[in-house]
Symmetry: C2
Subunit: 285 residues, 2 copies
Protein backbone atom coordinates (compact mmCIF):
# COMPACT_ATOMS: atom_id res chain seq x y z
CA UNK A 1 0.00 0.00 0.00
CA UNK A 2 2.57 2.48 1.15
CA UNK A 3 4.39 2.92 -2.16
CA UNK A 4 1.18 4.24 -3.64
CA UNK A 5 1.77 7.94 -3.09
CA UNK A 6 -1.86 8.77 -3.81
CA UNK A 7 -2.57 7.51 -0.27
CA UNK A 8 -3.09 10.01 2.54
CA UNK A 9 -1.03 9.91 5.71
CA UNK A 10 -2.13 11.50 8.99
CA UNK A 11 0.40 12.18 11.76
CA UNK A 12 -1.12 12.66 15.21
CA UNK A 13 1.36 14.59 17.36
CA UNK A 14 3.74 16.75 15.34
CA UNK A 15 6.93 16.89 17.41
CA UNK A 16 10.52 15.90 16.72
CA UNK A 17 9.65 12.41 15.44
CA UNK A 18 6.33 13.25 13.77
CA UNK A 19 7.92 16.27 12.11
CA UNK A 20 10.79 14.19 10.75
CA UNK A 21 8.31 11.62 9.42
CA UNK A 22 6.33 14.42 7.72
CA UNK A 23 9.43 15.95 6.17
CA UNK A 24 10.49 12.66 4.56
CA UNK A 25 7.04 11.39 3.53
CA UNK A 26 6.06 14.71 1.95
CA UNK A 27 9.23 14.60 -0.14
CA UNK A 28 8.11 11.21 -1.52
CA UNK A 29 4.88 12.89 -2.66
CA UNK A 30 2.40 11.63 -0.08
CA UNK A 31 -0.45 13.84 1.09
CA UNK A 32 0.50 14.51 4.73
CA UNK A 33 -1.87 15.96 7.30
CA UNK A 34 -1.53 16.44 11.03
CA UNK A 35 -3.57 16.75 14.18
CA UNK A 36 -1.51 18.28 16.95
CA UNK A 37 -1.80 20.42 20.09
CA UNK A 38 -0.18 23.67 19.02
CA UNK A 39 -1.24 25.86 16.12
CA UNK A 40 2.35 27.14 15.98
CA UNK A 41 3.59 23.64 15.04
CA UNK A 42 1.07 23.51 12.18
CA UNK A 43 1.98 27.01 11.00
CA UNK A 44 5.67 26.13 11.04
CA UNK A 45 5.13 22.85 9.16
CA UNK A 46 2.92 24.41 6.46
CA UNK A 47 5.42 27.21 6.04
CA UNK A 48 8.24 24.66 5.66
CA UNK A 49 6.15 22.74 3.13
CA UNK A 50 6.32 19.50 5.12
CA UNK A 51 2.55 19.02 5.59
CA UNK A 52 -0.47 19.73 3.41
CA UNK A 53 -2.89 20.59 6.17
CA UNK A 54 -3.38 20.36 9.90
CA UNK A 55 -5.74 21.01 12.77
CA UNK A 56 -5.56 21.39 16.53
CA UNK A 57 -9.11 19.96 16.68
CA UNK A 58 -10.41 16.43 16.16
CA UNK A 59 -11.10 17.13 12.50
CA UNK A 60 -13.52 14.48 11.18
CA UNK A 61 -12.69 15.03 7.53
CA UNK A 62 -8.92 14.81 8.00
CA UNK A 63 -9.19 11.65 10.10
CA UNK A 64 -11.80 10.07 7.82
CA UNK A 65 -9.66 10.58 4.73
CA UNK A 66 -6.44 9.05 6.10
CA UNK A 67 -5.25 5.67 4.78
CA UNK A 68 -2.35 5.47 7.23
CA UNK A 69 -2.38 7.10 10.66
CA UNK A 70 0.87 7.47 12.63
CA UNK A 71 0.52 8.18 16.35
CA UNK A 72 3.38 10.04 18.07
CA UNK A 73 1.80 10.55 21.50
CA UNK A 74 2.58 9.55 25.07
CA UNK A 75 1.30 5.97 25.68
CA UNK A 76 -1.70 6.86 27.87
CA UNK A 77 -2.72 9.75 25.59
CA UNK A 78 -2.54 7.41 22.60
CA UNK A 79 -4.80 4.84 24.26
CA UNK A 80 -7.31 7.51 25.32
CA UNK A 81 -7.33 8.96 21.80
CA UNK A 82 -8.17 5.58 20.27
CA UNK A 83 -10.92 4.96 22.84
CA UNK A 84 -12.56 8.30 22.11
CA UNK A 85 -12.09 8.86 18.40
CA UNK A 86 -11.61 5.53 16.63
CA UNK A 87 -15.10 5.76 15.19
CA UNK A 88 -13.75 8.47 12.85
CA UNK A 89 -11.20 6.20 11.07
CA UNK A 90 -11.86 5.20 7.46
CA UNK A 91 -12.70 1.51 7.08
CA UNK A 92 -9.51 -0.33 6.09
CA UNK A 93 -7.17 2.28 7.53
CA UNK A 94 -3.84 1.15 8.99
CA UNK A 95 -2.67 2.60 12.30
CA UNK A 96 0.92 2.63 13.52
CA UNK A 97 2.87 4.41 16.27
CA UNK A 98 6.28 5.43 17.61
CA UNK A 99 5.82 4.37 21.24
CA UNK A 100 8.96 3.28 23.10
CA UNK A 101 7.24 0.46 25.02
CA UNK A 102 5.16 -2.20 23.36
CA UNK A 103 3.37 -4.86 25.44
CA UNK A 104 1.37 -2.34 27.48
CA UNK A 105 0.25 -0.51 24.34
CA UNK A 106 -0.03 -3.04 21.53
CA UNK A 107 -2.36 -5.59 23.14
CA UNK A 108 -4.56 -2.91 24.67
CA UNK A 109 -5.02 -0.99 21.41
CA UNK A 110 -5.55 -4.14 19.35
CA UNK A 111 -8.09 -5.28 21.91
CA UNK A 112 -10.25 -2.16 21.77
CA UNK A 113 -9.81 -1.30 18.09
CA UNK A 114 -12.58 -1.72 15.49
CA UNK A 115 -12.31 -4.89 13.39
CA UNK A 116 -12.09 -3.04 10.08
CA UNK A 117 -9.00 -1.03 11.15
CA UNK A 118 -5.58 -2.62 11.86
CA UNK A 119 -2.96 -1.48 14.36
CA UNK A 120 0.61 -2.53 13.55
CA UNK A 121 3.04 -1.21 16.15
CA UNK A 122 6.54 0.12 15.50
CA UNK A 123 9.35 1.72 17.47
CA UNK A 124 11.68 4.10 15.65
CA UNK A 125 14.76 4.01 17.91
CA UNK A 126 15.82 7.58 17.43
CA UNK A 127 15.82 10.53 19.79
CA UNK A 128 17.62 13.73 20.55
CA UNK A 129 18.05 15.98 23.57
CA UNK A 130 15.94 18.52 21.69
CA UNK A 131 12.24 18.34 20.87
CA UNK A 132 9.59 19.94 18.68
CA UNK A 133 8.85 19.96 14.95
CA UNK A 134 11.28 22.90 14.61
CA UNK A 135 14.15 20.49 15.38
CA UNK A 136 12.96 17.75 13.04
CA UNK A 137 15.10 16.82 10.04
CA UNK A 138 15.14 14.38 7.16
CA UNK A 139 18.48 12.74 8.09
CA UNK A 140 17.34 11.79 11.57
CA UNK A 141 16.99 8.06 11.00
CA UNK A 142 20.27 7.29 9.25
CA UNK A 143 22.14 4.64 11.22
CA UNK A 144 19.11 3.99 13.45
CA UNK A 145 16.89 0.96 14.13
CA UNK A 146 13.21 0.65 13.23
CA UNK A 147 11.49 -2.23 14.96
CA UNK A 148 8.06 -3.53 13.99
CA UNK A 149 6.33 -5.57 16.71
CA UNK A 150 3.55 -7.66 15.15
CA UNK A 151 1.16 -9.93 17.06
CA UNK A 152 -1.13 -12.80 16.01
CA UNK A 153 -3.76 -10.22 15.16
CA UNK A 154 -1.69 -8.62 12.40
CA UNK A 155 -1.95 -9.43 8.69
CA UNK A 156 1.11 -9.91 6.45
CA UNK A 157 -0.04 -6.90 4.42
CA UNK A 158 -0.02 -4.51 7.36
CA UNK A 159 3.32 -5.87 8.62
CA UNK A 160 4.85 -5.34 5.19
CA UNK A 161 3.40 -1.85 4.94
CA UNK A 162 4.96 -0.96 8.26
CA UNK A 163 8.35 -2.45 7.32
CA UNK A 164 8.23 -0.48 4.09
CA UNK A 165 7.44 2.70 5.99
CA UNK A 166 10.62 2.15 8.06
CA UNK A 167 12.69 1.74 4.92
CA UNK A 168 11.13 4.82 3.27
CA UNK A 169 11.97 6.85 6.37
CA UNK A 170 15.63 5.96 5.87
CA UNK A 171 16.25 3.71 8.87
CA UNK A 172 19.42 1.64 8.47
CA UNK A 173 18.01 -1.47 10.18
CA UNK A 174 14.37 -2.45 9.78
CA UNK A 175 13.44 -5.59 11.69
CA UNK A 176 10.65 -7.32 13.60
CA UNK A 177 10.54 -8.46 17.22
CA UNK A 178 7.67 -9.70 19.34
CA UNK A 179 6.38 -7.08 21.83
CA UNK A 180 7.96 -9.20 24.60
CA UNK A 181 11.38 -9.36 22.93
CA UNK A 182 11.18 -5.65 22.20
CA UNK A 183 10.42 -4.70 25.79
CA UNK A 184 13.22 -6.88 27.18
CA UNK A 185 15.71 -5.41 24.73
CA UNK A 186 14.63 -1.82 25.34
CA UNK A 187 14.62 -2.44 29.09
CA UNK A 188 18.30 -3.29 28.90
CA UNK A 189 19.70 -1.09 26.12
CA UNK A 190 17.69 2.06 26.71
CA UNK A 191 15.77 2.17 29.99
CA UNK A 192 18.48 0.67 32.21
CA UNK A 193 21.05 3.07 30.71
CA UNK A 194 18.78 6.02 31.55
CA UNK A 195 18.33 4.69 35.11
CA UNK A 196 22.11 4.47 35.48
CA UNK A 197 22.71 7.94 34.07
CA UNK A 198 20.20 9.67 36.35
CA UNK A 199 21.48 7.71 39.36
CA UNK A 200 25.09 8.68 38.66
CA UNK A 201 24.02 12.29 38.21
CA UNK A 202 22.16 12.45 41.53
CA UNK A 203 24.06 10.11 43.88
CA UNK A 204 26.76 12.62 44.88
CA UNK A 205 25.93 16.32 45.16
CA UNK A 206 29.38 17.38 46.33
CA UNK A 207 30.18 20.87 45.05
CA UNK A 208 32.72 21.74 42.38
CA UNK A 209 32.95 18.22 40.92
CA UNK A 210 32.17 19.73 37.52
CA UNK A 211 35.51 21.59 37.59
CA UNK A 212 37.33 18.29 37.17
CA UNK A 213 34.98 16.35 34.94
CA UNK A 214 36.31 14.68 31.83
CA UNK A 215 34.82 12.95 28.82
CA UNK A 216 34.08 9.64 30.59
CA UNK A 217 31.73 11.20 33.10
CA UNK A 218 30.14 13.40 30.43
CA UNK A 219 29.55 10.38 28.20
CA UNK A 220 27.88 8.39 30.98
CA UNK A 221 25.57 11.28 31.89
CA UNK A 222 24.67 12.77 28.50
CA UNK A 223 21.23 11.16 28.78
CA UNK A 224 20.86 12.31 32.42
CA UNK A 225 19.19 15.38 30.92
CA UNK A 226 15.83 13.71 30.59
CA UNK A 227 12.16 14.41 29.86
CA UNK A 228 10.76 13.43 33.27
CA UNK A 229 7.12 13.25 32.13
CA UNK A 230 7.81 10.89 29.25
CA UNK A 231 10.43 8.65 30.85
CA UNK A 232 8.60 8.11 34.14
CA UNK A 233 5.61 6.92 32.10
CA UNK A 234 7.78 4.67 29.92
CA UNK A 235 9.49 3.17 33.00
CA UNK A 236 6.18 2.28 34.64
CA UNK A 237 4.78 0.95 31.36
CA UNK A 238 7.69 -1.50 31.18
CA UNK A 239 8.05 -2.01 34.92
CA UNK A 240 8.61 -5.77 35.16
CA UNK A 241 11.12 -5.94 32.29
CA UNK A 242 13.03 -2.92 33.58
CA UNK A 243 13.12 -4.25 37.15
CA UNK A 244 14.60 -7.51 35.84
CA UNK A 245 17.37 -5.57 34.08
CA UNK A 246 17.98 -3.39 37.14
CA UNK A 247 18.43 -6.57 39.21
CA UNK A 248 20.90 -8.03 36.72
CA UNK A 249 22.89 -4.81 36.84
CA UNK A 250 22.79 -4.48 40.62
CA UNK A 251 23.86 -8.08 41.20
CA UNK A 252 26.85 -7.70 38.89
CA UNK A 253 27.75 -4.36 40.49
CA UNK A 254 27.68 -6.03 43.92
CA UNK A 255 29.97 -8.80 42.60
CA UNK A 256 32.47 -6.17 41.53
CA UNK A 257 32.20 -4.43 44.88
CA UNK A 258 32.88 -7.70 46.74
CA UNK A 259 35.90 -8.38 44.54
CA UNK A 260 37.26 -4.91 45.29
CA UNK A 261 36.67 -5.37 49.03
CA UNK A 262 38.57 -8.66 48.86
CA UNK A 263 41.24 -7.11 46.59
CA UNK A 264 40.55 -9.96 44.18
CA UNK A 265 42.70 -8.60 41.34
CA UNK A 266 42.30 -11.77 39.23
CA UNK A 267 38.51 -11.63 39.48
CA UNK A 268 38.38 -7.94 38.56
CA UNK A 269 40.76 -8.44 35.65
CA UNK A 270 38.63 -11.31 34.32
CA UNK A 271 35.51 -9.11 34.50
CA UNK A 272 37.38 -6.29 32.70
CA UNK A 273 38.56 -8.64 29.96
CA UNK A 274 35.00 -9.95 29.55
CA UNK A 275 33.83 -6.34 29.32
CA UNK A 276 36.50 -5.46 26.74
CA UNK A 277 35.67 -8.49 24.57
CA UNK A 278 31.92 -7.90 24.71
CA UNK A 279 32.21 -4.16 24.03
CA UNK A 280 33.86 -4.92 20.68
CA UNK A 281 30.54 -6.43 19.50
CA UNK A 282 28.80 -3.11 20.07
CA UNK A 283 31.10 -0.95 17.94
CA UNK A 284 29.48 0.90 15.06
CA UNK A 285 29.83 -1.32 12.02
Amino acid sequence: MIVDVSKKILIVGLGLLGGSYARILKRFGFHVSTITKEQSSIDYAINEGIIDEGSTEIDKRIIGEADLVIFALYPHVFIEWIEKHQKLFKSGAIITDVTGVKRSVVYKIQDILRDDVEFIAAHPMAGREVSGVENSNDKMFQGANYIVTPTDKNTPDAINTCLELGRLLGFSNVTTLSPEEHDEMIGFLSQLTHCIAITLMTCNDKEDMEKFTGDSFRDLTRIARINDLMWSELFVANKDALLTQMDLFMNKFKELKLMLEAEDIDGMREMMRHSTRRRALFDKK
Copy 2:
Protein backbone atom coordinates in the same frame (compact mmCIF):
# COMPACT_ATOMS: atom_id res chain seq x y z
CA MET B 1 62.94 26.40 37.27
CA ILE B 2 60.92 24.94 34.46
CA VAL B 3 61.01 27.96 32.14
CA ASP B 4 64.78 27.66 31.99
CA VAL B 5 65.07 25.52 28.89
CA SER B 6 68.70 24.69 29.61
CA LYS B 7 67.37 22.24 32.22
CA LYS B 8 67.23 18.56 31.41
CA ILE B 9 64.03 16.55 31.66
CA LEU B 10 63.93 12.77 32.01
CA ILE B 11 60.73 10.84 31.30
CA VAL B 12 60.58 7.35 32.81
CA GLY B 13 58.04 5.28 30.87
CA LEU B 14 57.56 6.50 27.30
CA GLY B 15 53.97 5.59 26.46
CA LEU B 16 50.95 7.63 25.38
CA LEU B 17 51.29 10.20 28.19
CA GLY B 18 55.09 10.25 28.42
CA GLY B 19 55.33 10.51 24.65
CA SER B 20 52.93 13.45 24.55
CA TYR B 21 54.92 15.18 27.32
CA ALA B 22 58.15 14.61 25.35
CA ARG B 23 56.63 15.97 22.13
CA ILE B 24 55.55 19.22 23.76
CA LEU B 25 58.59 19.77 26.01
CA LYS B 26 61.05 19.13 23.19
CA ARG B 27 59.27 21.77 21.11
CA PHE B 28 59.90 24.30 23.88
CA GLY B 29 63.62 23.53 23.59
CA PHE B 30 64.22 21.36 26.65
CA HIS B 31 66.70 18.52 26.55
CA VAL B 32 64.43 15.46 26.86
CA SER B 33 65.70 11.96 27.67
CA THR B 34 63.85 8.75 28.44
CA ILE B 35 64.26 5.46 30.21
CA THR B 36 61.68 2.99 29.00
CA LYS B 37 61.09 -0.74 28.51
CA GLU B 38 61.13 -1.11 24.73
CA GLN B 39 63.94 -0.10 22.40
CA SER B 40 61.32 0.34 19.67
CA SER B 41 59.73 3.21 21.64
CA ILE B 42 63.11 4.94 21.88
CA ASP B 43 63.84 4.38 18.19
CA TYR B 44 60.44 5.79 17.23
CA ALA B 45 60.84 8.84 19.49
CA ILE B 46 64.35 9.67 18.27
CA ASN B 47 63.21 9.27 14.69
CA GLU B 48 60.30 11.65 15.35
CA GLY B 49 62.67 14.13 16.99
CA ILE B 50 60.73 14.17 20.26
CA ILE B 51 63.58 13.01 22.55
CA ASP B 52 67.32 13.63 22.56
CA GLU B 53 68.38 10.28 23.94
CA GLY B 54 67.03 7.20 25.67
CA SER B 55 67.91 3.88 27.23
CA THR B 56 66.17 0.65 28.16
CA GLU B 57 68.71 0.28 31.01
CA ILE B 58 69.07 2.15 34.30
CA ASP B 59 71.51 4.63 32.75
CA LYS B 60 73.42 6.40 35.56
CA ARG B 61 74.51 9.34 33.43
CA ILE B 62 71.03 10.08 32.05
CA ILE B 63 69.44 9.86 35.50
CA GLY B 64 72.22 11.83 37.18
CA GLU B 65 71.94 14.70 34.69
CA ALA B 66 68.19 15.20 34.97
CA ASP B 67 66.84 18.32 36.72
CA LEU B 68 63.23 17.20 36.42
CA VAL B 69 62.17 13.54 36.32
CA ILE B 70 58.62 12.62 35.22
CA PHE B 71 57.44 9.12 36.12
CA ALA B 72 54.76 7.55 33.90
CA LEU B 73 54.69 4.05 35.41
CA TYR B 74 52.13 1.85 37.13
CA PRO B 75 51.94 2.79 40.84
CA HIS B 76 53.72 -0.26 42.26
CA VAL B 77 56.43 -0.12 39.57
CA PHE B 78 56.98 3.58 40.35
CA ILE B 79 57.44 2.89 44.07
CA GLU B 80 59.83 -0.01 43.39
CA TRP B 81 61.84 2.13 40.98
CA ILE B 82 62.30 4.88 43.60
CA GLU B 83 63.31 2.33 46.26
CA LYS B 84 65.95 0.79 44.01
CA HIS B 85 67.37 3.70 42.04
CA GLN B 86 66.83 6.96 43.92
CA LYS B 87 70.53 7.07 44.81
CA LEU B 88 71.17 8.00 41.16
CA PHE B 89 69.20 11.29 41.20
CA LYS B 90 71.10 14.58 41.05
CA SER B 91 70.97 16.49 44.32
CA GLY B 92 68.22 19.13 44.03
CA ALA B 93 66.29 17.25 41.34
CA ILE B 94 62.50 17.53 41.25
CA ILE B 95 60.43 14.40 40.70
CA THR B 96 56.85 14.36 39.47
CA ASP B 97 54.45 11.72 38.10
CA VAL B 98 51.23 11.04 36.19
CA THR B 99 49.69 8.47 38.54
CA GLY B 100 45.89 8.36 38.65
CA VAL B 101 45.67 7.73 42.41
CA LYS B 102 47.46 9.88 44.94
CA ARG B 103 47.31 9.04 48.68
CA SER B 104 48.76 5.54 48.26
CA VAL B 105 51.64 6.88 46.15
CA VAL B 106 52.45 10.40 47.38
CA TYR B 107 52.98 9.72 51.08
CA LYS B 108 54.91 6.52 50.43
CA ILE B 109 57.31 8.11 47.94
CA GLN B 110 57.81 11.25 50.04
CA ASP B 111 58.49 9.02 53.01
CA ILE B 112 61.25 6.98 51.40
CA LEU B 113 62.79 9.69 49.19
CA ARG B 114 66.19 11.29 49.86
CA ASP B 115 66.03 14.68 51.62
CA ASP B 116 67.83 16.53 48.80
CA VAL B 117 65.29 15.47 46.14
CA GLU B 118 61.64 16.62 46.13
CA PHE B 119 58.60 14.70 44.88
CA ILE B 120 55.67 16.86 43.84
CA ALA B 121 52.80 14.71 42.57
CA ALA B 122 50.51 15.53 39.66
CA HIS B 123 47.67 13.86 37.76
CA PRO B 124 47.16 14.78 34.11
CA MET B 125 43.50 13.82 33.58
CA ALA B 126 43.81 12.67 30.00
CA GLY B 127 43.57 9.26 28.43
CA ARG B 128 42.59 7.52 25.26
CA GLU B 129 41.48 4.03 24.29
CA VAL B 130 44.84 3.70 22.52
CA SER B 131 48.29 3.44 24.09
CA GLY B 132 51.98 3.74 23.21
CA VAL B 133 54.28 6.57 22.20
CA GLU B 134 53.20 6.01 18.59
CA ASN B 135 49.76 7.39 19.52
CA SER B 136 51.07 10.38 21.47
CA ASN B 137 50.33 13.87 20.20
CA ASP B 138 50.91 17.48 21.16
CA LYS B 139 47.22 18.44 21.31
CA MET B 140 46.34 15.76 23.82
CA PHE B 141 45.86 18.02 26.83
CA GLN B 142 43.67 20.73 25.35
CA GLY B 143 40.46 20.97 27.34
CA ALA B 144 41.84 18.65 30.04
CA ASN B 145 42.59 19.04 33.77
CA TYR B 146 46.01 18.93 35.37
CA ILE B 147 45.90 18.48 39.12
CA VAL B 148 48.88 19.01 41.41
CA THR B 149 48.55 17.35 44.83
CA PRO B 150 51.02 18.94 47.25
CA THR B 151 51.53 17.87 50.88
CA ASP B 152 53.14 19.56 53.90
CA LYS B 153 56.47 18.24 52.69
CA ASN B 154 56.42 20.25 49.47
CA THR B 155 58.09 23.63 48.91
CA PRO B 156 56.38 26.54 47.13
CA ASP B 157 59.10 26.39 44.47
CA ALA B 158 58.43 22.76 43.56
CA ILE B 159 54.66 23.32 43.59
CA ASN B 160 55.04 26.29 41.24
CA THR B 161 57.36 24.33 38.96
CA CYS B 162 54.78 21.57 38.70
CA LEU B 163 51.93 24.02 38.05
CA GLU B 164 54.03 25.65 35.35
CA LEU B 165 54.73 22.26 33.79
CA GLY B 166 50.96 21.69 33.53
CA ARG B 167 50.49 25.04 31.80
CA LEU B 168 53.42 24.42 29.40
CA LEU B 169 51.89 21.07 28.47
CA GLY B 170 48.76 22.91 27.35
CA PHE B 171 46.24 21.75 29.96
CA SER B 172 43.17 24.00 30.06
CA ASN B 173 42.75 23.80 33.83
CA VAL B 174 45.73 23.61 36.16
CA THR B 175 44.79 23.40 39.83
CA THR B 176 45.81 21.95 43.19
CA LEU B 177 43.94 19.53 45.44
CA SER B 178 45.07 17.63 48.52
CA PRO B 179 45.77 13.92 47.84
CA GLU B 180 42.58 13.16 49.83
CA GLU B 181 40.40 15.55 47.80
CA HIS B 182 41.93 14.20 44.60
CA ASP B 183 41.22 10.57 45.44
CA GLU B 184 37.62 11.31 46.43
CA MET B 185 37.03 13.25 43.21
CA ILE B 186 38.66 10.64 40.99
CA GLY B 187 36.79 7.87 42.83
CA PHE B 188 33.54 9.48 41.77
CA LEU B 189 34.24 11.02 38.34
CA SER B 190 36.53 8.37 36.90
CA GLN B 191 36.69 5.11 38.85
CA LEU B 192 32.97 4.81 39.60
CA THR B 193 32.15 5.52 35.94
CA HIS B 194 34.49 2.73 34.87
CA CYS B 195 32.89 0.35 37.41
CA ILE B 196 29.47 1.21 35.99
CA ALA B 197 30.56 0.77 32.38
CA ILE B 198 32.12 -2.66 32.92
CA THR B 199 29.13 -3.77 34.99
CA LEU B 200 26.66 -2.69 32.30
CA MET B 201 28.76 -4.46 29.67
CA THR B 202 28.86 -7.76 31.56
CA CYS B 203 25.55 -7.97 33.43
CA ASN B 204 23.50 -9.31 30.50
CA ASP B 205 25.09 -11.62 27.95
CA LYS B 206 21.92 -12.16 25.92
CA GLU B 207 22.78 -12.66 22.27
CA ASP B 208 22.06 -10.23 19.45
CA MET B 209 21.58 -7.19 21.70
CA GLU B 210 24.20 -5.38 19.62
CA LYS B 211 21.85 -5.45 16.62
CA PHE B 212 19.59 -2.94 18.34
CA THR B 213 22.06 -0.81 20.20
CA GLY B 214 21.90 2.96 19.87
CA ASP B 215 24.05 5.90 20.90
CA SER B 216 22.97 5.90 24.57
CA PHE B 217 24.25 2.41 25.25
CA ARG B 218 27.41 3.04 23.23
CA ASP B 219 28.11 6.23 25.20
CA LEU B 220 27.71 4.50 28.55
CA THR B 221 30.03 1.65 27.57
CA ARG B 222 32.74 3.42 25.58
CA ILE B 223 35.10 3.07 28.57
CA ALA B 224 34.07 -0.58 29.09
CA ARG B 225 37.02 -1.38 26.81
CA ILE B 226 39.54 -1.19 29.58
CA ASN B 227 43.20 -1.95 30.44
CA ASP B 228 42.56 -4.63 33.07
CA LEU B 229 46.10 -4.60 34.49
CA MET B 230 46.17 -0.86 35.11
CA TRP B 231 42.61 -0.32 36.29
CA SER B 232 42.51 -3.24 38.72
CA GLU B 233 45.64 -1.80 40.35
CA LEU B 234 44.18 1.73 40.43
CA PHE B 235 40.91 0.44 41.95
CA VAL B 236 42.73 -1.36 44.76
CA ALA B 237 45.04 1.62 45.34
CA ASN B 238 41.96 3.80 45.96
CA LYS B 239 39.82 1.08 47.52
CA ASP B 240 38.20 2.96 50.43
CA ALA B 241 37.34 6.07 48.41
CA LEU B 242 35.97 4.02 45.52
CA LEU B 243 33.91 1.76 47.82
CA THR B 244 32.34 4.91 49.33
CA GLN B 245 31.34 6.14 45.86
CA MET B 246 30.03 2.69 44.89
CA ASP B 247 27.84 2.73 48.00
CA LEU B 248 26.48 6.19 47.20
CA PHE B 249 25.63 5.00 43.70
CA MET B 250 24.09 1.71 44.81
CA ASN B 251 21.92 3.36 47.46
CA LYS B 252 20.55 5.89 44.97
CA PHE B 253 19.97 3.13 42.39
CA LYS B 254 18.01 1.15 45.01
CA GLU B 255 15.91 4.27 45.76
CA LEU B 256 15.00 4.51 42.09
CA LYS B 257 14.18 0.81 41.99
CA LEU B 258 11.88 1.14 45.00
CA MET B 259 10.12 4.11 43.41
CA LEU B 260 9.60 2.13 40.22
CA GLU B 261 8.25 -0.86 42.17
CA ALA B 262 5.81 1.46 43.95
CA GLU B 263 5.02 3.27 40.66
CA ASP B 264 5.93 6.49 42.46
CA ILE B 265 5.77 8.72 39.38
CA ASP B 266 6.21 11.94 41.40
CA GLY B 267 9.34 10.63 43.10
CA MET B 268 10.88 9.47 39.82
CA ARG B 269 10.05 12.76 38.12
CA GLU B 270 11.68 14.72 40.95
CA MET B 271 14.83 12.59 40.63
CA MET B 272 14.85 13.14 36.85
CA ARG B 273 14.46 16.90 37.28
CA HIS B 274 17.28 16.90 39.82
CA SER B 275 19.37 14.94 37.32
CA THR B 276 18.54 17.35 34.47
CA ARG B 277 19.38 20.43 36.56
CA ARG B 278 22.65 18.98 37.83
CA ARG B 279 23.75 17.73 34.41
CA ALA B 280 23.67 21.29 33.10
CA LEU B 281 26.59 22.11 35.43
CA PHE B 282 28.71 19.49 33.70
CA ASP B 283 28.34 20.78 30.15
CA LYS B 284 31.52 21.73 28.37
CA LYS B 285 32.05 25.44 28.95
